[in-house]
Symmetry: C2
Subunit: 191 residues, 2 copies
């Protein structure tokens, strides 16, 4: 049995229970709108500001300033390594989401974990998005993620942890896809 | 007509042509393997190292040190805003990839653009990944991306630019999904 207020994997199990009970009572609290604003700089370089979002029934104000994150491209893709490139950020988001989802659900089940490391790779063929071969898709053909999990864990518990990781929102997004609406904002009318 | 070596949208059109011709001659050069290594820190905080990749027929060595990028969670999701959260990184990657793909294809067509800004939002319901409502998916229900494009452009050209953006690898990944293989590395044998 865990002592009250003791953290498991960096979470207090009673905080997880309280969150779940709050959402059961008021499911509207579970709705979130995540937002990103991005601006092109030059060539393959652009920058996102990430700060506000809606969640828990209100606009979140916990971030006093924006996270600023740059996309770039390596020289072989005609850039100057101004940042990781967008397809690398997909692997980063997938790694982070599967890891967080795993350790959160493990905490809710009282399973402490010592360490989690992942290595990801994504197979991509530039012929797709350049229109050179119609049989090649534009995005990744396949993604591999390898977990290394340490702790006082049975093989069966490790398999359970992998099943927790598969509840990850980004895992769902990447494996099943999401509808994307595209809008084109009209320029402001000139007086 | 563009003068030789003049940049369009930060790219030299002859560099784009040279790249396309090289890939037409040797399609194996178009194969890339992108890689990310991630390590859990605590709770909803984890960190990726992004450096090496395979592309253009060889291991890339253009990055002398890794990009280091953190995932975090806001307090409402039991974190301390250690970084943007993983689903926000998906919007960041989508924005960046659609923007870069647009301006690259525009450069190849000799269409100069003055500015591109995007605003993205993703609708997400926490009931899904917490297992509270089986009718709610774990990932985004829907993503919206709004473009604001400035330049000496006709409406028809702006529509063409939006169609270029839809060639984006991340747009393909996010709208169509990708198979993800999961491996579990065995711990090293103890001597």
């Amino acid at each position: 049995m865990e002592a009250p207020n003791q953290q498991v994997n960096g979470f207090k199990p009673e905080d997880i229970t309280a969150t779940i009970n709050a959402l059961k009572e008021n499911p509207a609290m579970a709705k979130f709108e995540w937002r990103v604003r991005n601006k092109w700089i030059n060539g393959g370089h652009n920058r996102s500001n990430i700060q506000d979002f809606y969640g828990g029934g209100k606009e979140d104000t916990s971030r006093t300033r924006p996270f600023v994150v740059d996309n770039g491209e390596p020289p072989i893709l005609l850039g100057n390594n101004e940042g990781p490139n967008p397809v690398e950020f997909i692997l980063h988001g997938l790694a982070g989401c599967m890891t967080t989802t795993m350790v959160l659900h493990a905490a809710a089940h009282g399973i402490p974990i010592d360490s989690v490391e992942t290595k990801l790779s994504g197979d991509w063929d530039a012929q797709g998005f350049l229109g050179l071969d119609p049989t090649v898709r534009n995005g990744y053909k396949q993604i591999h993620i390898d977990f290394k999990i340490e702790g006082d864990l049975t093989d069966s518990q490790k398999e359970q942890l992998i099943s927790f990781a598969q509840k990850s929102p980004v895992y769902d997004i990447v494996t099943h896809g999401v509808p994307v609406n595209i809008g084109l904002q009209e320029p402001e009318a000139v007086a």
